[in-house]
């Protein structure tokens, strides 16, 4: 029995923490909000130099060939700093999809650049109407010999302006439900896309609406099985969700620290507010949420790496718990800070907003409940209800 990250993993965390401390933790996110893109650029270069972008890429393509658990400490640190950008989407969704489903050409074309930190992927899934269900995919990719003709609109595409590639869910045939859905990689430089920025409550992440009108791209850009991209996507989402939990744990840890520190120094009625049990016990509740989220997240990543029997329910339940607990404790954090917690100046609200961004990100809470229920064998014949 050994339920802990190993020494190398913790050491790596140490390097990343030190580096993010040196650039001021959430300072980069705040500069990004103000429109400054340069500090994020240089931070991403810094992280790539540390090796963060190559951890889970196979050695053939310039990576370290490590697993999901090795990514965990880095993800936690990015969550703590509320890092803007597409590290999570690139390394925990695009990379697993490419590694598992990519053709040799695709792997050679994309993985080395991800590994050296010069390429980032976004994901274009939702369409106006906002449904993550297969029926929500109406964006068409008509097959014309070896070309695809794209028509449709995607919304809430995360950090589109930072991405040089998009993984797009498209309809390649008029199949029912998930049949006929394919995954496509669009290279921004090679396709004619119209983008319109959408305002995000979490201003540390940019969103955009992306429109294609008779955009032509090569058939070779299909990722994974033609018409059967939905199932491939589910595999990628397992990695993504396990990783998302780690990001959230890092953010939650910072929230608990903020609340604890403030409760020690803020005095009212002649004593630190941390002596009042209404405050003290609430912080303990937050700490319990944090540690439970952490245990579930670490286990989910272990289950993924070791292909455990309970892998799917471990991941969906970890996600359910983490997203809900993150929202809950970052709300409490504002209350514990009182008036100053309500200000723009304090970081408290940044965590509230990020928590909301993740709540229904790449699948709704309800869908993950259904996924967990199906994995536990509680939906029997109702498997068709399982959407994600």
């Amino acid at each position: 029995m050994d339920f802990s990250l190993n020494q190398e993993q913790e050491m790596f965390r140490g390097y990343v923490r030190k580096y993010l401390d040196s650039v001021g933790q959430t300072k980069t996110a705040r500069e990004y909000i103000k429109g400054d893109r340069e500090s994020l650029q240089s931070l991403q270069t810094g992280l790539a130099e540390l090796g963060c972008c190559s951890i889970n890429i196979s050695e053939n393509y310039g990576g370290m060939g490590l697993g999901a658990l090795d990514l965990v400490p880095v993800l936690e640190e990015t969550g703590r700093a509320l890092l803007p950008g597409l590290y999570l989407e690139t390394n925990a969704l695009a990379v697993p999809l490419l590694e598992k489903f990519g053709t040799e050409e695709q792997k050679e074309k994309y993985l080395p650049n991800i590994s050296n930190g010069t390429s980032f992927f976004s994901i274009a899934w939702l369409e106006p109407g906002g449904s993550y269900h297969p029926a929500g995919i109406t964006f068409t990719a008509e097959i014309e010999k070896d070309q695809l003709n794209l028509n449709g609109v995607k919304t809430l595409v995360p950090d589109a302006e930072l991405a040089d590639h998009f993984i797009v869910l498209v309809r390649t045939s008029n199949g029912k439900d998930k049949d006929g859905i394919s995954l496509l990689i669009i290279d921004r430089s090679e396709a004619n896309l119209t983008m319109r920025a959408q305002k995000n409550m979490d201003e540390t992440r940019q969103l955009a609406q992306l429109t294609c009108t008779n955009t032509e791209i090569s058939m070779t850009q299909i990722l994974g099985p033609l018409h059967q991209g939905w199932d491939a996507l589910q595999e990628g989402l397992l990695s993504f969700n396990a990783a998302l939990c780690a990001v959230i744990v890092g953010a939650m840890e910072k929230v608990v620290e903020m609340a604890t520190e403030y409760a020690k120094i803020r005095e009212q009625f002649g004593q630190p507010i941390g002596r009042f049990q209404a405050i003290k016990h609430r912080i303990v509740d937050m700490k319990m949420d944090l540690e439970t989220a952490r245990s579930l997240a670490y286990y989910a990543n272990w289950a993924l790496d070791s292909d455990a029997e309970d892998c799917i329910q471990a991941i969906s339940c970890a996600r359910l718990f983490a997203t809900e607990a993150f929202a809950r404790i970052s709300d409490h954090n504002i209350q514990i800070h009182g008036g100053i917690g309500f200000t723009e100046e304090m970081d408290c609200h940044l965590y509230v907003k990020r928590a909301r961004f993740y709540e229904n990100y790449l699948g709704t809470t309800e869908q993950y409940y259904n996924q967990a229920a199906a994995a536990l064998g509680w939906l029997d014949n109702k498997a068709s209800k399982v959407l994600v």
Binding site: M1, L5, T260, G274, K287, E291, T292, A373
Partner: protein, 398 residues
């Protein structure tokens, strides 16, 4: 990261499992055994069970070999708890003796005390109870008022204890009493190994909300203890009490595994019970509740394993035990509360009229209220976590 047990640990598990199968009463493992007539019959049965454990070498596995233990590793203790929970083994009637008094005496007892008491704790010949709580001293044990006054080589003890589990069957009591008054209330407390079988000790049953009688009031009216029955130094009992807490290495494990088992039984119940011919589990609201409970009970088990890893690495348990106790007891209460709710109005049917599992859910639901109180209330656990783990300021008055 590794969740497996070593072959040696699995061998240990198999050995215990075989022994349990051979030694538990007929029908125990299948759950068809009869319930006891009253608490005295129950106590007699539990004593005989402990004698069996002793004979088989399974009564106190963590104890040193020279005291009749097996020097089991921490992981073997975990395996032990898992297996005991799996077969719903009878309670250890001498829990206080084995987990508290024995280890304390081994560490700070005199040679005479070790010789006099330890063997009998293990065999169950002498059952112990714990005399800490009083009407005016519960969470705040430094407020104990029971007094012990020196009289030659004897001490005359007067006062009252309460909530004394097993007091009605115990032969001896690990008792705290005030022997002196200092400004610091923690000082001046002494630990006695009191003989329960004497005219100055009177035990009165307290019936619990679940209808059972496990704990008691104990009246001390010129009860007598001797110098030789003091553990550690006079007036320095607080240290002994604290030392004792450290002996419970494997901590709350038993309850963690019980929670896991109760969750699995709840799933079975929601598949068995039907409303309008549909299993309860097919109701989306109930299913959501069940996934919440699954998630958090997995979480508490995994938290426990993570803390266990820390204990294994540090060689001793830390304050994280409070987190396990808090989470497991609160979650157990919540799970059992839900187990009643989802039975609908029929959930109020009790005892032989209960609609599921012989009142298992109703009885455990009622029993669960004690779990967030006994062994330190949830509020006290939160204080401990806040102060010892998060470094928040101490409560007023301390």
């Amino acid at each position: 990261m590794d969740f497996s047990f070593t072959p040696k640990e699995e061998e240990f598990r198999q050995e215990l499992r075989t022994w349990l199968e051979e030694n538990l009463p007929e029908g125990w493992i299948g759950g068809t055994r009869e319930v006891y007539k009253d608490e005295y019959e129950k106590a007699a049965f539990l004593r005989s069970w402990q004698r069996k454990l002793y004979a088989g070498g399974w009564a106190a596995i963590a104890w040193p070999k020279k005291y009749g233990g097996r020097e089991a590793t921490l992981m073997e203790e975990i395996v032990y708890q898992q297996e005991m929970v799996k077969v719903k083994a009878p309670a250890l009637v001498n829990y206080v003796g084995i987990h508290m008094v024995g280890p304390t005496l081994m560490q700070i007892g005199t040679e005479e005390q070790k010789l006099r008491y330890i063997e009998k704790i293990l065999s169950g010949e002498e059952v112990w109870c714990q005399g800490y709580s009083e009407p005016n001293a519960g969470s705040d044990l430094s407020a104990v008022q029971t007094s012990a006054v020196k009289d030659g080589d004897r001490w005359i003890i007067n006062g009252q204890k309460v909530w004394t589990s097993f007091g009605h069957v115990a032969d001896r009591c690990f008792l705290i009493a005030r022997t002196n008054h200092f400004e610091k209330k923690h000082k001046g407390i002494t630990v006695f190994l009191l003989d329960m079988d004497q005219p100055g000790v009177e035990t009165k049953p307290i019936i619990q909300m679940d209808g059972q009688h496990d704990f008691n009031e104990v009246y001390l009216n010129n009860a007598v203890a001797y110098d030789t029955e003091i553990v550690g130094e006079v007036d320095e009992g607080w240290r002994v009490m604290m030392a004792l807490l450290m002996f419970e290495r494997s901590g709350i494990g038993g309850q963690v595994f019980t929670l896991e088992q109760q969750f699995n039984e709840l799933v079975a119940m929601t598949k068995d019970l039907k409303e309008d011919n549909e299993p309860l589990l097919d109701n989306p609201l109930i299913r959501k509740t069940m996934i919440d409970l699954y998630t958090r009970s997995r979480g508490s088990l995994l938290n426990y394993y993570r803390n266990l890893t820390k204990t294994l690495k540090n060689g001793r348990p830390g304050a994280e035990g409070s987190m396990d106790k808090l989470m497991v007891s609160e979650l157990t209460k919540e799970l059992l509360s839900k187990s009643i709710s989802i039975q609908g109005h029929q959930g109020v049917l009790w005892k032989e009229d209960a609609i599921s599992s012989n009142s298992y859910w109703q009885d455990n639901f009622l029993y669960s209220f004690g779990q967030t109180i006994g062994g330190g209330t949830s509020e006290i656990q939160k204080n401990t976590i806040a102060e010892r783990i998060l470094g928040l300021p101490k409560d007023m008055g301390r």
